[in-house]
Subunit: 227 residues, 2 copies
Amino acid sequence: MKISVLGTGMVGRAHAAKLAELGHEVMIGSHDVTKALTNTANDSMGNAPFVTWSGSHQSIKVVTYAEAAQHGEVIIDALKGEIAVEVLKSLETELATKILVDIANPLDFSQGMPPTLTICNTDSLGEQIQRALLQVIVVKTLNTMNAELQVNPQLLADGDHSIFMSGNDQEAKQKVRALLAAYGWRDIIDLGDISTARGTEMLLPIWLRLWGALKTPMFNFKVTVQS
Amino acid sequence: MKISVLGTGMVGRAHAAKLAELGHEVMIGSHDVTKALTNTANDSMGNAPFVTWSGSHQSIKVVTYAEAAQHGEVIIDALKGEIAVEVLKSLETELATKILVDIANPLDFSQGMPPTLTICNTDSLGEQIQRALLQVIVVKTLNTMNAELQVNPQLLADGDHSIFMSGNDQEAKQKVRALLAAYGWRDIIDLGDISTARGTEMLLPIWLRLWGALKTPMFNFKVTVQS
C-alpha cells in the first residue's frame, strides 16, 4: 500500500521505517526538505539528525507535506500537536477522502515539564482535525505509548498490552486495525467515535508521571477485564 | 484503627463495609443523619436506600460529617467531587494533622453523559483539597476503578492490576499503602506529589469510554513495564 508519514521527528521516523520494513511504499513529508536533508546537527534531545536516519532508509522518499499527502492512501499524522491542525488544513485537497491516522498529542511544553494539554476535557485534537477536514476520515490511535512501542509492541510483555482507536468510520477503523495488527498489536480496543479521542489524549498526563515514577518509557497499559 | 468514611453513596458504603470487615472501628459520615436513616426510596440509579445497607452493617455508626472527621485517624473522602472542597473545608479543625484519603472525582454530569471534569490539566481536586486544608495530609488514590474493585481487587485478574497514589507526605503514603494492601492491592504505584493527581483524575475520561466499549465496569488498567 502507498502510505505517507507527515513529520520527520522520532515518531515519524519510527513509523516510516516500520512501514517500509512491512513492504509498503512509504514517503515521509517534511516542512522543509532541503533543510531536513542538510541539517547535520543533533536535535535538542540529542537525537541524530534526520539526514543520518534518511541515509540508512533510502527506500523512503523524503518529500514535501503536500507530496506526501498526495502519495498516501493512508496518511499518518506524526506532526507536533501544536501545528497539526494548521498543517493538515493546508493539505485539505490532497487528503480528501483518505484515512488520516492521527497519532499526535496536544502537548504544551511552554510551562515546563511535565507538559500540560492545549486541548482537553470538552474537545480533543482528534476532533479538531476531523472538524477542520470534513472530507478526511480521521482515526485517532497510537498516541498512548512511546514511539518504539508504537511500532514494536512485542518488545513489552510479549505484546500483551492495549491500544485504543477512535473514529467515526467503521471501515476506516477496520483498515487501521489491520495496520496495527501488522505492527504486532493484538489487544486493539475500539472506543467509539472520534470524541473518544478525549479519553486517549487525556491519558498523557498519567503516562508522563508514570514515566517519571518508573524511570523508563518502555511501559504501557493493559486493560484487564473480568471474564 | 479508627477510620471514618465521609459520604453515604455506593463508594462510601463499599469502603465502610470493607474496613469494618478488616476489623477497624468505622464510622460513616452523612450530610443529614436523620434523612439518611429514614429515606426508604431507592436512589436515581436504582440502588437500595442507605438505611437498608445500614441495617445490615450495624457495627458501623452513622454520624455527622463532623463526628466522623473527629473519630477517624484516617478519613476517607467519598464525597461527590462537586461538594468535596466545601464540605472538607468546614471540617478543617476536626481533620487537622490527619490523613485524608481522597477518592473523589471532579465529575460534571450537567452536560449529560459521559461526564466531563470540572477541574483538570493545570489543577486537580486532590490539589484543591490540599491547598484548602494545609494542615491535612491528603493522599489521592482509589479513584480510577469502580467501587467494588476498589475494595476487592482480587475480583479481577487475581488482583494483578494497578492502583496509583499521589501525595506530598511519604509517611502518610506508607500508611495508605498498608491500607491498600489490606484491601488486597499488590501493584501500588506511587506517582509522586499531590500534583500527580492530575494524571489519575484525567484517567476518568478513558475509563468512562472503556466502560461503554466493554459493557462492564469490572475492568482496570495494569501498568506493564519492560523487565
